[in-house]
Subunit: 308 residues, 2 copies
């Protein structure tokens, strides 16, 4: 249709560009069609999840007017992120972490509750088959760093000590690398132990240091493009599981670390920061005589009682 | 703090559950913190993209109250989707397709414009190193199916025939499989040719059939959970590139196909549906004598002139 020949004054439209309202209606109709395709979902929850996902995903593409090149770049980014994953590396968890989705999911599912230790990100470095470490044993297992005595009590949010409960711990070495980041399937700086009769746990490991997230994957490219520091403040991971309680996934952070206010994965909470006391020589809490430098932290882990 | 002991009447809050407003504020603060972390982006566009992505991604998780198990399931799904990709399989494009994101991106970037052929999804089966097929040559190259003569004219949206322009075409065989879905790196049912002096293209291939998207990957699990049919209506893919014109990525769909109104990837447009005429024996348009059944379609490809 040639509007000019028909004597129509063309104001908001030209033959090569449908007007904005028409374009908007066409895009909305597509979103509605995709949402409708999930009406037959095998569960109400799946339909709810996918409907919201489609609306937000389409909303994003429409809001930013996603270009074909950007779409291609996103396909490539996600593909490489999946292909970077293996049994000892989880780049999609790292992506979720740096986008704050992990902390948001933590906050939705483990809202702060009085008396219980706060949760933080799980991170990409947990592995299932860590070794058992006896009370007072050596979790470092060759991980380099200043020896650090880690101890505390696991108890219920009602104050009861939790005996016989599994505490998993894992951390990077003094070079900022987890065991899984080395060649050769070594296990170091990770393990689990069972709490004693008063809910106590205690082991030797190494003093945590701040470190960059892995710099050899798509996520590090994203941080670079964002001009973001890839650093995580020094921390030790915990996972504590006890019957009748919400599983606690958290860290203890080292007080004074320069990256506490700019954690690449948004994981820091004030209540999770503890003093790591430094010593030289002398007698350690387990009665051993120490030669050089060593550190010490005490951190209690309080689990929230599950209702019902 | 025990409010009851202090004589405070607890109405909207209990020690174990912060009130909704407090929880909402905490979640919003996290989203704001993540958005702020992209303020240092190396380009304004990157900041715009990531800010919108974070807001929509977080909006999704908040709206559905994403559980930890669902988050884990999403991480696993995305990981497996990436790991299903290789040089001949692109599961993330397929995911984008079934979520309607591909068609939305097409619609944003190649809005319908009068005179030009409409665009549709690129799909996961294009490969870069397809063979050149001479005018009138055989693109099927062993792909099973009813022989089909495919021809038409490539022209500019101003009507000028486009000579010497590259036309790529690819399609599934009569079993609904692309060459890349077979073992052994075969090439069949794909190729490209250069248009003749009047913009003409013509080749033998096979009659397209409807087919299911690949059923051995995460995307097929999603379709099953959604109770969606995995079918695509019969079609042949085209990609046409010409200087000064927007690259055209489209299909020709077979009129009468039973899945035209429920394409798993939302790719059908009325203007892309054409009659595939069926014949038995006789003389084909290229002058050859045919023995059994064969089909024929004529489909012109009109490229939009780029402005500026």
């Amino acid at each position: 249709v040639n509007y000019r020949e028909q004597g129509v004054t063309v104001t908001q439209t030209t033959p090569h560009q449908p007007d904005a309202a028409e374009q908007q209606a066409r895009e909305q109709a597509l979103t509605d069609e995709v949402v409708a395709s999930f009406a037959t979902s095998t569960s109400d929850r799946y339909r709810e999840l996918m409907t919201s996902l489609v609306r937000h995903l389409h909303g994003f593409a429409r809001d930013v007017r996603l270009t074909h090149a950007e779409w291609e770049s996103a396909i490539d980014f996600l593909t490489r992120t999946g292909q970077k994953c293996d049994e000892r590396r989880q780049e999609f968890i790292l992506l979720s972490d740096v986008l704050g989705l992990s902390m948001l999911t933590v906050g939705i599912n483990a809202p702060a509750s009085e008396g219980a230790t706060e949760s933080t990100v799980f991170g990409p470095f947990f592995v299932d088959d860590a070794p058992e470490i006896p009370q007072g044993g050596d979790l470092a297992h060759g991980a380099k760093g200043t020896p650090c005595w880690v101890s505390g009590q696991v108890r219920s949010s009602d104050g009861t000590p939790l005996a016989g409960v599994r505490v998993d711990a894992w951390e990077a070495d003094e070079d900022g690398l987890y065991d899984t980041q080395y060649e050769g399937n070594r296990t170091a700086g990770r393990g689990w132990q069972t709490t004693g009769p008063r809910g106590e746990y205690r082991f030797w490991s190494v003093q945590p240091v701040h470190y960059p997230v892995p710099d050899d994957g798509p996520v590090s490219e994203m941080l670079a493009a964002a001009g973001r520091r890839p650093m995580r403040p020094a921390h030790l991971h915990f996972k504590v599981t006890a019957p009748g309680h919400r599983t606690l996934i958290t860290h203890v952070f080292v007080a004074g670390d320069e990256y506490l206010d700019r954690d690449a994965v948004f994981g820091v909470k004030q209540s999770l920061i503890a003093e790591f006391t430094e010593h030289t020589g002398g007698t350690a809490p387990d009665g051993t005589t120490r030669d050089g430098r060593w550190a010490q932290v005490e951190f209690d882990l309080v689990l929230q009682i599950l209702k019902g």
